[in-house]
Each structure stands twice: as structure tokens, then as C-alpha cells.
């Protein structure tokens, strides 16, 4: 963290010759000013930091621990860690620190650390969060970190995602259109309006937070779950696919354990780290399914 704050000065010196090239004579002045402003800003930031934060704040983590392979750890327990807080620290940062400094047996999934890979969804202080996207400053202490509920725990914070992936695959989450535009380099275009319509649904990162928060999915193992239905929405609403393919998709989601299981609790919409309006999409598919089956002629 501390190294990151010093960084702005370095690229500045590297950039300066490149930026100065087009107008060599007037270059030093704006650059000087820019550097001056940067130094000032840096000083202000450091001062603000010193004022707002006491030197050594510790974050109290309570982390769920369980390991079925070690006899003494088969009983689930909570371990306490006191992690030194740094500005901008996320739940995942704190967990990484705890693992690196205190207990190397602490197990959790993480990869990209920027809310794209979807590996690090945890149950933090009673609701599903993406570890790398959740600031510790926004949480109440002690921060209670547990594996996602309603999924089998493999070890510590690692849960079995197999069922979630099965549900995701069951809606055939890929473009099925076979009539492609003629010509080798022809683009397969989508209207701007249609892109806007499916935009939010394309953001899913398969983290499983919604499925874990869903009360219905917990009780009904066959229910597709919010993520899978959202995936179906993404393709069913895509105008580039033919009408027959859309009908095939609607047939999948309108089954007994499809969209009709949703009872609009809005739990999934509330926990989605990518802010996908899941309930809205499910409701829209319900309407589509009804429209498909209602024929007055």
C-alpha cells in the first residue's frame, strides 16, 4: 500500500521527455506546474491521511474455519485475526494478510482481485459480498467472514460450486445462432437499443452470490437460480438469435423449476456485486413465457 502512494512521482519523470516533444520551448512551464500541483496534492493527501487515521489501527476478523481432512479441525470454529489496517484495504486484502502473516493453512479462492474473476464471494457480516470489492472501512467490526451459505463447504471459505455451474450450463449459455452474415469479414451487428437492453445481464461473473442468497434455491435444489436465469435472459433477449432459438430458451426456463420458482424476495438483486437487476430480468422472462403461451386466436 505505501509503495503505491509513492508511485505517481515515478511515471512523471518517464513521461516528461515524450510529452515535451511537440512543443519543446513552452514544455517546461506546464510540466513544472503539473509537477508542482502533483507534489502539493501528494503532501495534502499525506497530511489528510495522518489526520484521519491513527497510526496503528487493527481490523478484527472472525474467519470461519473447517477442514474435514484433519481430525482436530472437523468441528467448525471461528478464528480471530487482528490485521493492521491500511487505507483502501478490502476484505480480500485482509484475508491475504492473515494467510501470509498468521496462518498459512487459511484457505480461500481468489484470483484477479478486481471483481472480474468472481472467485472470492464470501458471506461477510451476514450478507454475500465479493471480497475484493468490499472495503473494510464500510464494515462493522468484528468482520465476520464465512463461506457462502447453502453450498457445501470443502474447506474454510471454499465452497463446492459444482451445482451452481451445472445450473449455469443447463440454460445453454452461449450464442446458438447458425445463420451468420455472409462474407468472411462481415460483422454480426446488434442494434444499440438491444445492446442497452441486455447490457446489465452480460456483466455476470459467475460468483454465485445471488444463488447463495436465494431462499428458494436453498430449498429447491432443481431451481435454476438467479444467475442461470439471468444468463438465459442475456441470450433470449439478444435479437441476433432467431425466434425458434428464443422459443427453445423460453421452454427451458419456463419449466417447473425455472422462472416460476422466483418469489421476488429481491435477495439476489441486493447482493449482486455487479448490480445486475436480477429480479427484473426474471420477471421479464416470466412475462415473455406467458406471452408465448397465451394465444387468443
Amino acid at each position: 500500500m505505501s509503495t503505491q502512494q509513492q508511485q505517481p512521482e515515478e511515471p512523471e519523470t518517464q513521461e516528461s521527455p515524450v510529452e515535451g516533444e511537440p512543443e519543446t520551448e513552452s514544455a517546461p512551464e506546464p510540466q513544472q506546474r503539473r509537477l508542482e500541483r502533483k507534489r502539493l496534492g501528494q503532501a495534502q493527501r499525506e497530511q489528510a491521511e495522518a489526520e484521519t487515521e491513527p497510526e496503528e489501527t487493527k481490523i478484527h476478523l472472525k474467519v470461519f474455519r473447517y477442514d474435514p481432512e484433519v481430525e482436530a479441525k472437523q468441528e467448525p470454529r471461528f478464528d480471530d485475526y487482528y490485521v493492521p489496517y491500511e487505507r483502501g484495504m478490502t476484505v480480500l486484502d485482509a484475508l491475504i494478510y492473515a494467510r501470509d502473516e498468521f496462518d498459512s493453512s487459511l484457505t480461500f479462492r481468489h484470483s484477479c482481485r478486481q471483481a472480474i474473476c468472481g472467485s472470492d464471494a464470501f458471506f461477510v457480516n451476514g450478507s454475500q459480498h465479493l471480497g475484493c470489492k468490499t472495503q473494510l472501512s464500510e464494515l462493522e467490526q468484528p468482520v465476520r467472514i464465512e463461506p457462502l451459505p447453502h453450498q457445501e463447504v470443502i474447506k474454510d471459505l471454499v465452497v463446492d460450486m459444482e451445482h451452481f455451474y451445472d445450473q449455469m450450463h443447463s440454460v445453454e449459455p452461449y450464442m446458438k445462432q447458425e445463420d451468420l452474415p455472409d462474407g468472411d469479414l462481415e460483422e454480426f451487428r446488434q442494434s444499440r437499443e438491444n445492446r442497452e437492453k441486455i447490457k446489465m445481464s452480460t456483466r455476470c461473473i459467475w460468483c454465485g452470490a445471488c444463488m447463495s442468497s436465494c431462499n428458494i434455491a436453498a430449498g429447491d435444489n432443481q431451481y435454476l437460480g438467479p444467475a442461470a436465469i439471468n444468463k438465459a435472459y442475456r441470450f433470449a433477449m439478444d435479437e441476433r438469435e432467431d425466434e425458434e432459438i428464443k422459443e427453445h430458451r423460453l421452454r427451458i426456463i419456463e419449466q417447473e423449476h425455472g422462472v416460476w420458482r422466483c418469489q421476488t424476495q429481491f435477495s439476489c438483486t441486493e447482493v449482486c456485486p455487479k448490480d445486475i437487476p436480477l429480479t427484473e430480468h426474471i420477471q421479464e422472462l416470466k412475462r415473455e413465457a406467458v406471452k408465448k403461451n397465451l394465444k387468443f386466436w
Binding site: P76, E146, P149, H163, A218, T264, Q265, F266, T279, R287
Partner: protein, 131 residues
């Protein structure tokens, strides 16, 4: 989902303090729905004992209405029915895709309106038994 061990109430109602508005709306809607079904059957059962004639009907109703508990239950029934109606309208809107962003506010609104109507109904229901 299968569990390798029991996490107990952690996963379900043990976390009621952390439930969101939509979850509470769902729980209340189920609860009030079952209450109304329960009332419906009690209603049929009780009144079917009083169909022997006008006098029997009047006697039964007057006997019931004289009881403080029955009056209290009537206020409760009104509260339950009003919430179920208001939340039902809310769910209808959700199904039509209207105002999904305001779903929590509409839940709070239906709670407040239910409370107001219930309080306002107390003088009517409680005449002659305490009011």
C-alpha cells in the same frame, strides 16, 4: 443442498436480524396468507353451527361479539387482511415490472398504511368492550 455438517440456524431464520425488506415482505405475505386461510375455515366452521334458524344465528353472533378476545382477533384479522391486500398490489406491480427499484419503499409504505388503518379501526371494533 446437501451439507457435510449442520450449520444450524446460521443459514436460515437465525439470521432474521439481517433480512432485507424484500425478505420480510415475503415472510409477512406467506404468514398473512396462511392466517387468512385459517380464518376462512374457522369462519365456515363456526357459522355452520348457527344455521338452525334466525334466533340461533343471532345468539351465536351476539355471544361471540360480547367477548373481548373476539374483538381483539377482529382487529388482528383486519390488520392481516389489509397487509395482504396492500402487499398483493405491490407484488402485482413487481410482476408487471413497475417500480422495481422502489420495492423496499413500497413494502415500508404498505406496513405504515396497515398500521394506520388498524389503529383507526380500533374504536369501531372495540365499542362496548372497553371503549
Amino acid at each position: 443442498m446437501s451439507q457435510s455438517y449442520n450449520r444450524g440456524l446460521i443459514e436460515d431464520f437465525g439470521r432474521w436480524k439481517e433480512f432485507s425488506a424484500g425478505m420480510w415482505a415475503w415472510i409477512f405475505h406467506k404468514f398473512t396468507g396462511w392466517m387468512l386461510i385459517g380464518y376462512l375455515f374457522t369462519h365456515i366452521a363456526v357459522l355452520s353451527t348457527a344455521i338452525a334458524g334466525e334466533q340461533a344465528y343471532t345468539n351465536t353472533l351476539q355471544g361471540l361479539e360480547a367477548l373481548f378476545v373476539v374483538r381483539l382477533l377482529e382487529v388482528g384479522l383486519l390488520a392481516v387482511a389489509v397487509f395482504h391486500i396492500l402487499n398483493g398490489i405491490r407484488l402485482l406491480m413487481v410482476d408487471l415490472g413497475i417500480g422495481l427499484e422502489a420495492q423496499d419503499k413500497t413494502f415500508y409504505a404498505s406496513l405504515i398504511i396497515t398500521g394506520a388503518i388498524t389503529v383507526a379501526s380500533v374504536p369501531t371494533f372495540m365499542t362496548e368492550v372497553g371503549f
